[in-house]
């Protein structure tokens, strides 16, 4: 009896069809592509200052390790504003509630840029609860809508909110983590 139960347990812990279907290489490439798009967007925000010579930026190749993907190479964006240096460090794609994270690290703090559902305004929007009333037929599962992903800034306030990433919000973030 116990042996059979144990066998069922062992079988349940094996890689499922769903696991096998995940194309990890594709996931990594999509994430790196979204990362490149983030950097392009930020480069656009900084363009005027870069042309004026007051801000410069460059990229450094770093190794990122995720248990699900192993170790791979990604680019870190380093921004220099006079004496201040800010790095945008890619963290990974196998994350809770989002498809990617980049940490913005400055001399005075750190902030997170998350690749989240474009429609999510706060972390609370990620909560999904289904209630079944006893005696009634369970609701049919909703058809999954394709998610449109967008880079947003995660606030440190409670509750956590997602702020759209635009020139104004990004500059505010830079000043905050650079102690301006």
């Amino acid at each position: 009896m116990e042996t059979k139960e144990f066998e069922r347990f062992v079988a349940s812990q094996q890689e499922t069809n769903v696991d096998a279907k995940i194309d990890r290489v594709q996931m990594r490439d999509e994430w790196l592509s979204e990362l490149a798009s983030l950097y392009r967007k930020i480069a656009g925000f900084l363009q005027d200052y870069v042309s004026a010579g007051s801000i410069s930026y460059g990229y450094t190749k770093i190794e990122v390790t995720e248990p699900e993907l192993g170790t791979y190479t990604a680019k870190r964006m380093d921004i220099s504003i006079g004496r201040q240096h800010i790095s945008l460090v890619p963290v990974g794609t196998f994350l809770v509630g989002c498809k990617g994270r980049v940490d913005a690290e400055g001399s005075a703090g750190r902030a997170q840029l998350l690749l989240v559902n474009e429609r999510a305004k706060s972390a609370a929007d990620l909560i999904k609860v289904t209630v079944n009333i006893k005696g009634t037929a369970p609701p049919s599962p909703r058809e999954r809508q394709p998610i449109s992903w967008a880079w947003k800034i995660l606030t440190t306030t409670v509750p956590k909110r997602f702020v759209d990433l635009d020139k104004e919000s990004f500059f505010a973030l830079l000043m905050e983590i650079a102690n301006a």
Binding site: E66, L95, V96, G97, L126
Partner: protein, 176 residues
């Protein structure tokens, strides 16, 4: 030592154990990916970061729960001390405690109470020694952990401290 004790309701050892069990169970549920609020709470974190955070919460909970068991144990020893003095019991340990009470304004847990037990109940010397180690841990927690403690054991987790407290309270026959 206060002349009169006001015994306010306090959790007994089995209640402390139930509380700890509920705490650990709640934390494990809160950190479980199937919990509806999981994504909102941990958005942006890697699963290994979430696991580390859970491990850290559990370790802290072990410390806190063990701390309260030790405070309960300390109270039991002090109540026993007071009882023996008030009732003027005739055994050697009680006589020793009355002598201490007469000489000292403030009774010391280690040097007076535990030392008295060790001297007059030598059969419990191993347990007293373990208890002294655990009280060092309790002292370290109570005073803000600002130094690196030299403890008898690497880890004073709840299970160990609770078992020790149970065996001491039932075995020593603490009065009061």
């Amino acid at each position: 030592m206060p002349k009169q004790f006001t015994i306010t309701p306090t959790l007994e050892l089995d209640e402390l154990a139930s509380y700890h069990q509920d705490l650990v169970g709640s934390l494990r549920l809160y950190f479980n990916p199937s919990t509806p609020t999981f994504a909102a709470r941990f958005v942006g974190k890697r699963l290994d970061e979430v696991r580390q955070e859970l491990a850290s919460r559990l370790e802290e909970s072990e410390f806190r729960s063990a701390f309260f068991v030790l405070t309960r144990l300390e109270a039991s020893f002090k109540i026993d001390f007071d009882f023996r003095c008030k009732k003027r019991l005739k055994d050697d340990l009680s006589k020793n405690f009355r002598e201490v009470e007469r000489k000292r304004d403030k009774v010391r847990m280690d040097a007076d109470i535990l030392e008295g037990w060790k001297r007059h109940r030598p059969e419990w010397s191993r347990e007293i020694s373990e208890l002294r180690g655990a009280f060092k841990f309790r002292h370290w927690l109570a005073h803000g952990r600002y130094w690196t403690p030299k403890l008898g054991r690497k880890k004073y987790d709840f299970a160990y401290v609770h078992l020790m407290a149970e065996s001491i309270i039932s075995g020593f026959g603490l009065a009061g």
